[in-house]
């Protein structure tokens, strides 16, 4: 259903490019251990194909430390990976579709925005993690906000912005994010062509001149926390310019994007008034990054009910969660529905749990768990926990 909508959009906006030549990776790679039904040894996201659907692939430790150090893998899943001694993600239809699109996208055209939506616990964040891994392995420049709710509803510190009137800074979070950005993209930021285009005047004595490394800009933000939020805005603009020039290919990944448009944040002014997310300095940077006025990039975004307050969690659909503003900002976008597990995926997941000795097996386990969890991935994890 939605794949036809993708094709429709592509027809009207971008012509379909010929598929990238992939190495023909037969799933039955000759590996020392016997290949289990639910696993694949294919750890290159580039090579994930339809035959890998429902199978688990492993993210290597170093990749994991690189990409997900600041977040990106939900806490409950994180605990599970510690117990299982490995980080294994399931290859599912939504993420595979987006990866295929990213492979075949015409990057000379304006940026395409993908929106992952689905009910609570259906696997949006982990799909995003899969796409992020793909982006990292394919050499994209990653701009990744792990969970926007942490900024809007659990910010570490807020303060009135000095540069902009009426705006609020989230400096500690901003600085932490810049560090994360640096770690994720260190191999790309050392590119000699990654230079700033204009001067950035922070104060009388602090200037980041044009033509300096992006890395300097980032370091400035990390070291001078006071200017962290403004650095982010500057950085976002630079990234857009560099992508337009073709120096980087950018992947913007935001989890919980709808938090940018939900008015009831827990960010307050010094007078204890609620701040609308549009009045947070950092928001401007990311809003411009998810705009379509630049090319050579892609934006994958999730909209999640959990990012907003409980009393307003009525619907999981993008139009409701984004609101009028958000919807108009993101329009046109490619909606990607993340659904509950199919039969195959459910069996695969349970087999994985059995193999990891997480679930004590008994006859009839599969059907019972399927019924009780309604094939919802998160609920399945919760139901299997005490078994």
């Amino acid at each position: 259903m939605y794949s036809s909508s993708i094709r429709f959009i592509f027809k009207n906006i971008l012509p379909l490019k010929t598929p990238v030549q992939c190495f023909s990776s037969a799933p039955l790679l000759l590996s020392p251990e016997k290949l289990q039904r639910f696993r694949t040894t294919e750890s290159q996201c580039l090579k994930h194909k339809d035959e890998h659907l429902g199978l688990f692939y492993t993210i290597s430790e170093e990749d994991r430390k690189r990409i997900f150090i600041y977040g990106g893998i939900p806490k409950s899943f994180d605990v599970q990976t510690k117990t299982f001694n490995e980080t294994c993600l399931m290859i599912r239809q939504p993420s595979l579709d987006i990866i295929n699109c990213l492979r075949n996208l015409d990057y000379s055209k304006p940026v395409v925005r993908f929106v992952l939506y689905g009910k609570k616990g259906s696997g949006k964040s982990l799909s995003l993690a899969h796409i992020l891994h793909y982006g990292y392995q394919s050499g994209f420049l990653i701009v990744h906000i792990p969970w926007l709710g942490n900024w809007m509803r659990r910010c570490k510190e807020y303060s009135n912005s000095e540069t902009k009137e009426g705006y609020v800074d989230l400096n500690l979070d901003a600085a932490a994010w810049l560090l994360n950005f640096k770690t994720q993209n260190s191999h790309l930021l050392s590119n000699p062509e990654a230079k700033t285009s204009i001067d950035y005047v922070w104060s009388k004595r602090e200037i980041t001149p044009a033509g300096s490394d992006i890395l300097n800009l980032v370091d400035h933000g990390i070291n001078r926390i006071k200017y962290a939020s403004d650095t982010i805005i500057a950085l976002c603009e630079e990234i857009k310019k560099l992508s337009n020039k073709g120096i980087f290919r950018t992947l913007v990944a935001v989890d919980g994007y709808n938090a940018f448009f939900y008015p009831n944040t827990r960010v307050y002014t010094e007078k204890k008034e609620v701040v609308h997310p549009q009045n947070v300095t950092v928001t401007q940077g990311f809003m411009s990054l998810t705009n379509f006025d630049w090319k050579n990039g892609a934006a994958v975004v999730t909209v999640d009910e959990i990012a907003i307050a409980e009393e307003d969690q009525i619907s999981h659909l993008p139009r409701y969660l984004l609101g009028k503003e958000g919807f108009e900002h993101l329009d046109p976008f490619v909606p990607v529905h993340v659904q509950n597990y199919t039969e195959k995926e459910l069996t695969s997941c349970l087999d994985y749990y059995r193999e990891r000795k997480w679930v004590n097996d008994y006859p009839g386990l599969d059907e019972e768990v399927k019924f009780v969890s309604d094939s919802n991935p998160y609920k399945l994890m919760k139901v299997c926990a005490p078994l």
Binding site: T83, N360, Y362, P363, G364, E368, A385, P386, L387
Partner: protein, 228 residues
């Protein structure tokens, strides 16, 4: 009314019924309604022994809300949930116990992955319910002290204990041990640790049981006060 007295049942040669029938003054069911046998394997046993025919004449109570015939449903786990429950908050109690089981699994799996020896790996029990059963079994006291007044003095007299009471005391101690913790540690984690310790015959609850046994041994001299 249809009154059947306790004697009639206890004296009729039905071994099954003598374990099922109970006089319960508080139940809203008439006292001749028997408790349901909701597990498939229990029913299989009855069919084999032929006692199921005798049940065809007795009305049954409805199964409770926490009873299912699934293998994942454990009567002892249900009891534990009930004992942890406060003010009827079954959802919270069940969550606590389920998280406790999850923690048991994580702790055991950690140990499992650490040990390299195959034999030792087999020794490690990864099933939280079996650990619960072992823990409860290991913590059951054999005697208890009751105060008996003789000559104006209250002596603590060691007295034998029924199995049900022992089980109840064991579970109560385990839960109490789970609650004695630093405020940073969660109840379900502490309880998980206690259960694993008790299943290995170590830990606070076992010590408590052994203390009780020591006390009973010390008060042996008063044992005859039970009858005097």
């Amino acid at each position: 009314m249809f009154g059947i007295t306790k004697i009639q049942f206890f004296n009729s040669n039905l071994k099954v019924l003598s374990t099922i029938i109970q006089q319960n003054g508080m139940s809203q069911y008439p006292n001749y309604y028997i408790k349901p046998i909701y597990k498939k394997d229990s029913q299989e046993e009855l069919i084999k022994s032929g006692e199921i025919k005798k049940l065809s004449h007795l009305p049954t109570r409805a199964a409770l809300a926490d009873q299912t015939s699934s293998f994942s449903n454990d009567p002892l786990a249900n009891l534990l949930i009930n004992y942890c429950m406060r003010e009827g908050n079954k959802i919270l109690a069940r969550n606590l116990v389920e998280q406790c089981f999850e923690n048991i699994k994580r702790l055991q799996l950690e140990k499992y992955h650490k040990t390299t020896n195959e034999e030792d790996k087999h020794q490690i029990d990864l099933d939280p319910k079996s650990i619960l059963h072992k823990a409860i079994e290991n913590c059951k006291p054999i005697l208890q002290l009751t105060p008996i007044k003789r000559g104006g003095v209250r002596y603590q007299v060691p007295v034998p204990i029924t199995d049900k009471k022992a089980q109840f005391i064991s579970m109560k101690w385990l839960i109490a041990a789970g609650q004695e913790k630093e405020s940073t540690v969660r109840f379900n984690l502490q309880l998980a640790r206690e259960l694993i310790d008790a299943a290995n015959n170590t830990g606070r609850v076992i010590k408590k049981k052994q203390d009780l046994h020591r006390q009973c041994e010390a008060n042996r001299a008063y044992a005859h006060y039970r009858w005097s």
